[in-house]
Amino acid sequence: MLSLLAQIDIEPIDTPDVDWPVLVPLLVMSVGGILMLTFASILKRLPSSVWSIATVLLSAATAITVIPLWMRVTDTANSASSTLAGSVAFDGFSLFLTVVIAFAVGLTALLSDDYLKREGLEGPELYVLLMMSGAGGIIMAFANDLIVLFLGLEILSIAVYVLAAMHVRKLQSQEAGMKYFILGAFSSAFFLYGIALIYGATGSTNLIDIKNFLSVTVLADDALLLAGFALMLVGLGFKVAAVPFHFWTPDVYQGAPTPVVAYMASGVKAAGFAAIIRVFVLTFEQYRTDWQPVIYVLAVLSLLLGSFLAIVQTDIKRMLAYSSISHAGFILVGVQAATDRGTSAVLFYLAAYAFMVIGSFGVLTVAGGKGDAAQSLEDYQGLSKRSPFLAFALMVFLFSQAGVPLTTGFFAKFGVISAAIDARSFWLGVIAMISAVVGAFLYLRVIVTMFFAGDDDHDSDDGESAGQDDIGDDADVASTDKIDVPLGAQIAIGMCLLVTVVFGIWPGPIDDLAREAIPRLVQESPAALFGN
């Protein structure tokens, strides 16, 4: 009897190895968010700015904890691995995107402080949700198992549904949240069903196992697998706002609080593409002839529809929503290449785009005024006079989005198109460039409005010398009041500006990082393959 008991005692519960250091960035973000929620419910009197600062610090901490891990992963002796029974991938790819997401959270928090005060929405809720969503995004970047991926996706999404509806007194915001939630729930269902089908076809949800299974097994009937691809692509395509799963984008971008949109366009997109790359480019590498054409079509549609529909918009947030769709198309161009070059180009694009889009929406946050009222293009007339800083910053961000050289946007486009050319997708490259030109028209429209509109009448044809004195007081400018840029927004916009210009002129460092983040994608750690 005793011996039997002893025997039972000895039998250990089979728990997977946990490589705790790997989880530190995720833990900082998620536990930080939970702690913040706890403290917030105890210390109600704290000023709202505290939460903003805490979020910024925590996301900075997340980014900093990545540094030693990055050293470890790029050190060849001790490179990429997976942990938690192979469900968490530890490689340069996940770390790179973790940093991008951490920056997205931090910069959004900087923008949010004054936004919340202006809108009378002070409180810790937005920050907590932001951090939870960031944690979800990091999980997606690390996910090496479809179930984990789904968990990450849901954590990310649910927080963002609430964030979109954050502005409780604004009907549009409620509508945006509702729309995003319903469509998002649908897309999650698609995604989950896709997982189920892939599990049915391969017998596993673990990406390593799936890849190994597919490399040794020839499926007589791969209909199940292909259906799984399609459904997962619907789910992920929705998150990254690729045509034809883009319908929510303009409405949600228009209605949701502007800082939240900044996060949606940067962090959520990055997480979505992380999943697409890890699942498709990596795990289903052998089946690339099956999914590449689909991505090709999605890319073409997103590029063209995004840029053409953007032109006809008069609301600047809708305009940027469509432009973000066309950016998704550009990133898909890199995905479609399904090469290391393509993946590193996608990473560069995601990093570069995060800063330029947060910067753009940062400017929109400040320039939008109370209640995000000033959203139409006319409201941006003469912005260069009301706030030269904002106008200049938005100009740089828009030029960057248009792909004008010496901004990160140019090198990002250069990267994805060179990946496409390298993979011999010449026509995709051509279409992408055409879309870039169409997009340029749109961005120029905004720049014209900011810089030229309003001084149309003062020297139309009567000489340059006459214009000197009446430059400041054009009558038809919507409002000639100077705009005060709050400190948080100044820091956030300034930082985005710095990154966009400095790394636009000197893209080498980010490009090197993006390159190092490539080859170590799913790697079979011995434990994952044979143990547990």
Binding site: S344, F399, V404, P405, L406, F410, F411, F414, G415, I417, S418, I421, D422, F426, G429, V430, M433, I434, A436, V437, A440, F441, L444, R445, V448, F451, F452, A453, D455, D456, D459, S460, D461, D462, G463, E464, S465, A466, G467, Q468, I471, W506, P507, G508, D511, D512, R515
Partner: protein
């Protein structure tokens, strides 16, 4: 292949070519950061200093230039983005030398000679950025950076037109930007295809260095032709060639005077220079193949531009259309693919920059005084402004191509080259010379002769500072007309090398030369003594 780069490095340790790009860029930054928007003189001084330093450096380069060397000189090379094989490679040869000098000279003149009237600070900052970009295009030996500079010049010019232009300037600025960007969009695909396909054909790492790409010639024939077309479209828009020229009259007319001067003086040369450096040099076979087509476009441009110029009511628009005609000559000469033609084209690039630059300055001065550019509103100006009329006459005659002035030498060489290659093209193009005389003399007659009434009678003559602005250009016009040898002999080795490169790379192609040759021609290339027009005319006449 790389030896060409290192060989020519000579003993220059100061990275003067980098400085040519960086100094105006830093100048722009300084101007932008200068305090006090209420003191336009200060920003103007700063901008002047930056551009004068750049100009002085370009003259120093001219002085140090080794005439006997056909390769790239003053070369510099540093890795930029290793993963893509992009390097900061700069170099200068006889083809780019005078364009760099022209840029160095025209910018100080444009900055000193024209006052923007309002918003001085951004105006000068944009102008200096423009200078940096233009210098970059002429100096870079890396396709990536070529594209970067080629595109970046659009931004300052867009703002110069849109902010300081006249009339319908926003429309003109946007049209200019989109037209040019659309043109060069496909070039990026072409550049990438060149780099990647060459890399996969040779098995080397990807490189964007044009010397390596050009010497390698690893592309399949049809591929190279397609890629050439993607480049040609970009350059054709920039030049501009006939069907894609419509942005130019708008941009020129609405641009502020300095913008027009720079646009005509150097920016249009980006296209023609591109044809030489990136068309002929990188894709010799495709250039030979498409040469008749390009020459046809050039001739159409010459005739069309001239006819359109004749019809113009606006003086500035007239000069703009005359640019189309002049640039047609340059393309015609370039695609004659012989030393005379290319040299003539090069010379015309410089000539057109000087003469048309001066013409735009003069038109700007008239406009400042009279606030109109309509030819019908102007009359008898020579009575009130005799000096201006005199200067205008010289510049105009140079533009027409009067012997003794610079325009003649370039046009003569161009036509000679074209005649040797495809004589009927040259004969038609020569008609353009006559038309040039027609539209310019007619315009001169209407503006400066006739009765002077009202404002026309009281118009002020050239002021001292305006005269000083124009003086260097006038000096160049006369000097290069009387004694073009110093210019030509510096171009010649590089042009010969380019022609030899085409001959090497294209089997069955020999330089189209005339049966009858002058002593000077015989010196420059002793080979292929017998005339071989029939070789060059594969397309058949």
């Amino acid at each position: 292949m790389t030896s060409t780069l290192t060989l020519a490095a000579a003993d220059v340790s100061f990275p003067v070519l980098t400085a040519l790009i960086v100094v105006p860029a830093i100048g722009a930054l300084l101007v932008a950061l200068l305090p006090g928007s209420g003191r336009p003189e200060l920003t103007k001084e700063a901008a002047t200093i930056a551009s004068v330093i750049t100009g002085a450096m370009s003259l120093w380069v001219l002085y140090e230039f080794n005439m006997a060397d056909a390769g790239f000189q003053f070369t510099e090379s540093a890795s930029w983005v290793e993963g893509f094989g992009i390097s900061w490679a700069l170099g200068l040869d006889g083809i780019s030398l005078f364009l760099v000098v022209l840029t160095g000279i025209l910018f100080p003149i444009a900055i000193l000679g024209v006052d923007p009237g309002h918003d001085h600070k951004p105006y000068y900052a944009w102008l200096l950025i423009l200078e940096a970009g233009v210098m970059g295009v002429f100096l870079t030996l890396d396709l990536f950076f070529f594209f970067v500079f080629f595109e970046i010049v659009l931004v300052p010019m867009y703002f110069l037109i849109g902010k300081w232009g006249h009339g319908n300037r926003q429309y003109a600025a946007t049209k200019f930007f989109l037209y040019t960007m659309a043109g060069s969009a496909l070039m990026l695909v072409g550049i990438l295809a060149t780099a990647f396909l060459t890399a996969s054909a040779t098995g080397n790492d990807v490189t964007f260095n044009i010397v390596e790409l050009a010497e390698g010639q690893a592309l399949a024939r049809d591929t190279a032709r397609w890629i050439f077309l993607s480049f040609a479209l970009a350059f054709a828009v920039k030049v501009p060639l006939f069907p894609v020229h419509t942005w130019l009259p708008d941009a020129h007319t609405e641009a502020p005077t300095a913008g027009s001067v720079i646009l005509a003086g150097v920016m249009l040369k980006l296209g023609t220079y591109g044809f030489l450096r990136f068309g002929l040099y990188l894709f010799p076979e495709a250039s030979v193949y498409f040469a008749p087509f390009m020459m046809t476009l050039g001739v159409i441009g010459i005739i069309y531009g001239a006819i359109a110029a004749t019809m113009q009511k606006d003086l500035k628009r007239l000069v703009a259309y005359s640019s189309i005609a002049h640039l047609g000559f340059i393309v015609l000469g370039t695609f004659a693919l012989n030393t005379e033609g290319i040299e003539g084209g090069l010379l015309q690039m410089v000539n057109h920059g000087v003469s048309t630059g001066a013409l735009f300055l003069l038109v700007g001065m008239i406009y400042e005084r009279r606030h109109t550019r309509l030819i019908s509103e102007l009359s008898g100006l020579q009575k009130s402004a005799p000096v201006m009329a005199g200067v205008f006459t010289v510049v105009m005659l140079s533009s027409i191509g009067l012997p003794g002035l610079n325009g003649f030498v370039g046009e003569y060489l161009t036509l000679l080259g074209a005649f040797n290659a495809h004589r009927w093209w040259a004969i038609v193009a020569a008609g353009g010379v006559i038309l040039a005389a027609l539209y310019l003399l007619w315009a001169y007659q209407r503006v400066f002769h006739g009765p002077a009434e009202g404002d026309n009678a009281t118009m002020a003559d050239l002021s001292l500072s305006e005269g000083l602005t124009l003086a260097p250009l006038l000096a160049l016009i006369v000097f290069m007309g009387i004694y073009p040898k110093p210019v030509i002999e510096r171009m010649e080795p590089a042009v010969d090398a380019l022609v030899a490169h085409i001959e090497d790379a294209v089997p069955g192609f020999t330089e189209p030369v005339a049966n009858f040759r002058t002593a000077e021609d015989a010196e420059s290339h002793s080979d292929d003594e017998h005339g071989d027009e029939e070789h060059s005319e594969e397309e058949g006449e």
